[in-house]
Amino acid sequence: MPDDSVHNAPTGPGCGRSCNCGRANADADGLIRDPKSNGDGVSRRSFIKTLGASAAVSSLSATSESRANALLGREVPKSAAMLIDGPEPVDVTLNINGKPLAVKVEPATTLLEALRFHLNLTGSKEICDRGACGGCSVIVDGKLVNSCMMLALDAVGAQVTTVEGLARDGKLDPVQESFVRHDGLQCGYCTPGLVMACRALLNDNPKPTLEEIKKGLSGNLCRCGTYTNIFNAALEASGQAPIMDQKMEGA
């Protein structure tokens, strides 16, 4: 299993964005509570991470299943096959971009693997495969999630939006439009993740300051070096003037 010591530090600071990356603050019992959640505050992925991704499914006995349901704050359908030990594949249905999609996956399959290998939705990128880069960012029930750090089985019953689902009726999302206009991309490999992170940020905070944008996108890495243009794209997509324009007019 991935070494999550950095992201999952029990008492570390929050990552600053509304995601389930595990950098939220932890309780005395070591469980990581999401301050924005309405339920008892434990995100699905945080719970799984507490157990360890590969151990989670196989250790879900009847007792732990009910505990899981309580922690998740929702009813998990029996079809989610939470009692499956694996590694034999199981049939599940995922709700991706508004469509129910049937997929047969090993229980230890991450949401990212299900998207890329089983559903041919390759917009979400596998870059670090351990929650450090944000390249696989998707929105699950309104929250930004690193899909490499969530099991596909745990997305059953949730609404998953991937970068492929952001444009509606052939029209780009304003975030996508402003990425294009401000050249918020070079090789483009980090771009889907940054587009999703930016969308999630603006959903939570419709008019972020530059500092809030930097913090909100800090779970994502770009190697070509496009951050300047991405900040401007985020500002424009939220109806604010790009920093460069303000700077140069005053210069």
Partner: protein, 700 residues
């Protein structure tokens, strides 16, 4: 200093009405990337995105230590893992962490990984060297004559500067997917050399070059590491695809990418240099060592750079081996590490001379660099710079500067332009776009040469069946292909105008095209689409033409302003001004992006990056993205790219120079803030605090 000449600058995001002289004649140079929409919607397919039905998935078996002898492995258990198709283990002695000793191919990635765990190779570790200083322990003179060229010097400076191994950290890892259909194949590669990768794949595929196509429409970064043929990942996939006549897929994971796909070698620079009291250079000697891991070469450091007059410098370089993966070309190979040493050395000399370091650079640099330094000093606010070490507050501000230069390349590569009867234009060349904007640039130069808006042009690159183009290395892709594409597009335009003239019983020189309108004797004659409607069924195809060379260096200077928290040692980057010339600006957005990206990679090299090998085992301890830190959004300063227009024309280099001076300028800014140099990259808080503590001891 002279007042800033506004006409020489193109400030970022300036209104398009104020169009500097080195931008194109049309509106096309403010275009957005032609491939931006596929990239923001996730529909762009990179090599790593080709998960083909019935594919084999390959994992390499790799040595987990810096040096170890292979002892045994449970091959029976690995072969018995459900889904395993083939395994090859070539047990041997290994000399670096990540060295491959074979592979496992299976029906799914999970099956391949399970078999790798079942294989559980056993190793016997052997002693390792992990860095240059394991071999180079003193500071020897060059040669035996004791002459160091410093005779007559009034001020001398001797210091050692070191930089760590930096990995390319391309976000799309190395590898490829191969669709082998028996007598035909399609190869989905992630490469900087579409043509060179194709050349290396005929043998492994068992096919002639005409029987397969290499597709590389999108590349998730390369920075030099994806040059030089198909690589062992793609070659292995091709061999197994050919053997089993089914698709095969091999891409490195993040750890393997750090371990075994090249790097910028570490460096050690010993500088002994002398000056007169007025800052005139006397000369000296510079000895460099490159830490090339297990490779025998490739560790050169470009110091003296030639950008500053330093007098007569005696130079000697040696490559030093240790138990790490070998280097590959990395964006301006040999330069950022050398510029770090050279720029910080100059600031230290200036401090000894009691000179402003910018004044020393103005004395030593050439004419264009001097003008750029003047302009950049205004933009960064150099007049607010305080003397070295004069601040006592907890938060101290520092300013630093550095210079870059890069040579030009002549026209090259092959290109084809097709004009169809509906007015659409296809521009074809077998290059690849690794993020530079090559696809967009080809479209713009085609549209500009034809005199039409960019919307009519589509660009085909990244396929081995197109007219062959150069690899993306040495910043030559644009300087070679843009002149060629321009010439070919002009040839297509000439054919079109000759045809219109023949049909009208007129002379061709009566006709011209501007902004998508065909003019006859300066008057509107036909729209572009009407004119193309007069073409024969198969339109016009042109593929001959030789462009003009863009002469002269692409020069640049950078200024860095930062704050140092002297209680924690943490550096807060505040402002970077990056002035860069590149000849004619084909596309302002992608040109500025190249500059911003070069600066960001340079800042990341300055502050964070370090491929760290355990000194006992030789294993890389940070083969991931949590502890191999690259610069993230939260670390960002305000970066101001400035495209230098004065005297610029022709197509010149841009990709590499903007990453050369950044680390050096950053180190100079730190020196300015705290009054003590940190001569070892990265500039981490522990080193800053140690420098501050040494400063309090009073020893200079």
């Amino acid at each position: 200093m002279k007042p800033l000449d506004e006409a020489t600058l193109i400030p970022s995001h300036m209104p398009t009405t104020n169009r500097p002289s080195n931008m194109g004649a049309s509106v096309n140079d403010n275009a957005s990337r032609l491939d931006a929409v596929p990239k923001v919607t996730g529909s762009a397919k990179y090599g790593k995105d080709y998960h083909l039905p019935n594919s084999l998935y390959i994992v390499f078996i790799r040595c987990p230590w810096g040096a170890a002898d292979f002892v045994s492995a449970d091959e029976a258990a690995a072969k018995a893992t459900p889904g395993v198709v083939e395994m090859q283990v070539r047990g041997k002695s290994c000399t670096y962490h990540g060295q491959s000793i074979g592979y496992i191919a299976a029906d799914s990635p999970r099956a391949a990984k399970r078999a790798l765990r079942a294989l559980a190779p056993k190793w016997k570790r052997t002693p390792v060297k992990t860095q240059i200083s394991d071999t180079v322990k003193d500071n020897p003179d060059i040669g035996d004559d004791g002459q160091n060229n410093m005779n007559g010097a009034e001020v001398t400076h001797e210091a050692v500067y070191t930089t760590p191994v930096q990995t390319h950290s391309s976000l799309e890892t190395h590898g490829g997917a191969v669709d082998h259909r028996g007598d035909r194949a399609t190869v989905y590669a992630s490469t900087q050399g579409t043509s060179s990768s194709r050349d290396g794949l005929g043998g492994p595929l068992g096919l002639g070059q005409g029987d397969f196509e290499l597709v590389c429409e999108y590349v998730g970064g390369g920075f030099g590491s994806k040059l030089g043929g198909p690589g062992k990942e793609l070659t292995t996939a091709a061999q197994l695809a050919a053997k089993y006549k089914r698709p095969a897929y091999m891409f490195c994971n993040r750890s393997e990418e750090h371990l075994d796909t090249g790097n910028r070698p570490s460096s050690r620079t010993l500088a002994r240099i002398g000056f007169k009291k007025d800052g005139s250079p006397v000369g000296g000697e510079i000895r460099t060592w490159g830490g090339t891991g297990v490779a025998g070469g490739g560790g050169g450091a470009s110091i003296p750079s030639g950008r500053y007059k330093l007098g007569e410098i005696k130079k000697l370089h040696d490559d030093v081996s240790f138990n790490g993966g070998g280097p590959r070309a990395f964006r301006a190979p040999g330069h950022p590490q050398a510029a770090f040493a050279e720029e910080l050395m100059l600031d230290e000399v200036a401090a000894k001379l009691g000179m402003d370091p910018l004044a020393l650079r103005m004395k030593l640099a050439g004419g264009e660099h001097r003008k750029m330094f003047e302009a950049g000093a205004k933009l960064i606010g150099w007049s607010n710079r305080k003397p070295n070490g004069s601040q006592n507050s907890a938060l101290r501000t520092g300013y630093g500067a550095g210079a870059a230069g890069w040579g030009s390349a002549g026209p090259g590569g092959a290109a084809e332009v097709v004009i169809a009867r509906d007015g659409s234009v296809e521009s074809r060349t077998g290059t690849q776009d690794i993020g530079t904007g090559q696809r967009t640039g080809m479209g713009i130069v085609t549209a500009d040469a034809l005199g039409i808006p960019l919307k009519y042009v589509s660009v085909k690159i990244g396929r081995s069946t197109l007219p062959p183009g150069p690899g993306s290395g040495g910043s030559v892709t644009t300087p070679t292909t843009a002149p060629t594409m321009t010439a070919v597009a002009k040839a297509a335009k000439t054919q079109l105008l000759e045809l219109l003239a023949t049909q009208a019983n007129a002379k061709p020189d009566e006709f011209s095209i501007k902004d998508g309108v065909v003019l006859r004797n300066g008057e509107k004659y036909l729209t572009w689409e009407e004119a193309c409607g007069k073409l024969p069924n198969d339109g016009i195809t042109a593929n001959k033409g030789k462009g003009e060379r863009g002469d002269g260096h692409s020069n640049g200077v950078q200024f860095v302003k930062l704050d140092v928290d002297t209680e924690t040692g943490v550096i807060h980057l505040r402002h970077v001004v990056a002035i860069q010339s590149c000849g004619r600006v084909i596309c302002r957005k992608t040109a500025e992006s190249q500059i911003i990206g070069g600066v960001i990679q340079g800042l990341s090299f300055a502050l964070f990056e370090n491929k760290l090998l355990d000194r006992n085992t030789g294993a890389m301890v940070n083969d991931n993205f949590e502890s191999y830190k690259i610069l993230g959004p939260g670390d960002m300063p305000h970066i101001e790219p400035v495209l230098w227009s004065k005297g610029q024309s022709g197509f010149k280099a841009l990709g590499e120079p903007p990453t050369i001076p950044t680390a050096g300028a950053t180190a100079c800014a730190l020196f300015n803030a705290i009054g003590r140099p940190v001569r070892d990259l990265p500039l981490t808080p522990d080193k800053v605090l140690a420098a501050l503590a040494a400063g309090q001891g009073g020893a200079a």
